[in-house]
Symmetry: C2
Subunit: 394 residues, 2 copies
């Protein structure tokens, strides 16, 4: 038996709570609204196959060789062209999915004990990505539009305890589905500038709007004050692990060094295939098909909730894009307990507690509507209603 | 202007010294023996193209979807079958190149100030990967077979300062090309076991032997005491970024959690393509072609060195595999100064100093022989000889 000493951070590291829940709920016969996967029906398989062949024929050796840490120039250019504000390709760093962007941002900003501000609730994977740097994540009170500016300002702190970054997900947030309004964006950007705290803007879902384009990103309002994260996981395919950072000049170099140390560069082949797929405006025609698909799913879920939750004292968000919807149960009802009753009745969701950095609201849960059929949505939400009634009757 | 506070570790992070040198030396007309790239002629482009098409046709949706952090089961099984000792696929964690393995190992073993033992000299990218965890890297005196056991034991330390891991590259080491003998391997494994210190065995070049298979890996001798790192970068292609760790059960879980936080999982598509390429024994027929190609190159370089270095007081290693050869200049000659003279004469190499964690031997340099033609090798080594003579004449 070995008696090795591990780094102190390992005591804080855990497997994702969601992945643990999925192990319990991914059983045959369970209608799962617990996952966070995009619908495979949205993957452009034939466009990818064609792009793979083109890349291998034209640039096979380069696609299989080592490449620069910053990323494939044509892809960086294509991303700059695609973004809705004026971006220099030199500010773009290609990452191995946007999860890696979180790892790199954590590495360059967070010392042990550093304060970091997050929304209440926030993306669980971000908490997980920052954990190895041993920060103290502080939840900022949030309403249906995201962080409340007063609480943000109050929690930034000062001196050695001043927050290093604030992490926000302005569009169709995971887990709540909520979107920051124009006014809130502007107010947050101005307050962050005034307090000189970097904003980390995570935007994996921004293109998946159903009812008109969301307001401009935070980064567009103050490019030197915001580290912007984007991803191809929700508009093309997550299995390629291609994401990116748009970074202010002041931190681009350190992010690139952190990336070089972490994996040298993201796969050359994947970067070239994505650049090839993006050619000739493919995304402009492809993304609307995903929007249309997900909008139908959302509509079905809203209808099912209206019908099945009547009189139960349950509320939920009405997302105008993205993949998720957030349910608030009556006060005192624990979503973790409810999950057992729901699984018994054939459906699964993710309890809300793991999405909170602190002060978890345990009467919340997340539903994904994109990988279940309309029939399954009706059936699953009916099962959820029955589970709530059963718990209330106890 | 922002006045953000970055993490303390960023002061220690730097861009790879090699990449900086390559910017100076990758000019038209320069014969570069400085790079660390495998020969593109060794990439099996048609096998890859075919595998891409098979994977997309058969499993397109799964290849483009999120997948498990541990890796694609069929690839983990194929790796277990390929390795020369009894490995359970459950011990294998797929990484985004073996550079990521170093990042994960650093995260789970190293606190700020932790001691880590490395060879003298060692792989520069490993020093770079560990740096963000702010360890103290200590070089262990090494001879033509790797770490000297007495110095290893002397430098392990004790109590809070006991080294957390020892990092070694037993086969055709980058940068020296040297190989650990059977006896040295056995002695190191036994000493590490006795002192209860984990060995990290990095083996990207092990299959590229020219004169018979190297001795069994350290991991084969004490599977619960060694974290083994492998890679497809040198036997298939680096642009896919597929590497792996074979980990003892005691640390597999923490490595997987660190991986999940770092990039969720390595690209599903790439893993499936590599598994597809590996089917039906492709590597068994492909790798010998790389060995044959590199052996010719090494032979040419040895002949050229014999001829051009005569009487200059220069010595060099005679690697029996891999991609690199290590040159020791006369005492007092600085390879960094020599580089200027060499580039003036049309050739480039990497000075040895950056490969040392401490106590750099500045009269050393690394030559790569795999991406230059025989003619270029003769011409480049002649230019190196001329540069040395010029410097000696000053």
């Amino acid at each position: 038996m070995t008696n090795w000493t591990l780094a102190a951070r390992t005591a804080k590291m855990n497997s994702s709570a969601i992945r643990e829940i999925l192990k319990l709920t991914d059983r045959p016969g369970i209608i799962s609204m617990a996952g966070g996967l995009p619908a495979p029906a949205s993957f452009p398989i034939s466009a990818f196959t064609q792009a793979c062949n083109t890349v291998m024929e034209r640039d096979g050796a380069a696609a299989l060789q080592y490449s620069t840490t910053e990323g494939f120039p044509a892809l960086r250019q294509a991303i700059a062209d695609f973004l809705p504000w004026d971006v220099n390709p030199d500010q773009i760093l290609i990452t191995t999915g946007s999860q890696q962007a979180l790892d790199l941002i954590g590495k360059i900003f967070l010392d042990k004990g550093s304060r970091i501000l997050v929304e209440k609730p926030t993306y669980l994977g971000a908490l997980q990505a920052f954990t190895p740097m041993e920060p103290v994540a502080v939840g900022v009170n949030s309403d249906s539009e995201g962080m409340l500016i007063d609480d943000f300002a109050a929690k930034v702190g000062s001196g050695d305890d001043k927050a290093r970054v604030a992490y926000v997900l302005p569009n169709f947030q995971n887990p709540t589905g909520r979107t920051m309004s124009e006014a809130r964006r502007q107010a947050l950007v101005e307050k962050a500038k005034e307090l000189d705290i970097p904003l980390v803007e995570d935007n994996p879902y921004g293109d998946l709007w159903y009812e008109g384009e969301p307001p401009l990103p935070l980064a567009a309002r103050n490019p030197e004050g915001v580290i912007y994260m984007g991803s191809f996981s929700k508009v093309l395919a997550p299995g390629l692990r291609v994401g990116f950072i748009v970074a202010p000049k002041s931190v681009y170099g350190k992010l690139t060094q952190a990336k070089q140390a972490a994996d040298l560069h993201s796969p050359s082949f994947n970067q070239r295939v994505v650049a090839e797929v993006m050619k000739d405006g493919f995304l402009e025609s492809h993304i609307p098909t995903i929007r249309a698909m997900y909008k139908v799913q959302r509509d079905v879920m809203l209808v099912a909730l209206e019908r099945e939750m009547e009189g139960l004292g349950v509320t939920w968000t009405r997302p105008v894009g993205g993949m998720f919807l957030w349910v608030t149960l009556p006060k005192g009802m624990d979503a973790q307990v409810l999950l057992g009753h729901a699984v018994e009745r054939g459906m699964a969701f993710v309890p809300g507690a793991p999405f909170y950095a602190d002060e978890a609201e345990t009467n919340t849960l997340r539903l994904s509507y994109v990988t279940v059929s309309p029939e399954q949505i009706h059936q699953g939400i009916a099962a959820l209603g029955a589970a709530i009634r059963a718990l209330q009757a106890q």
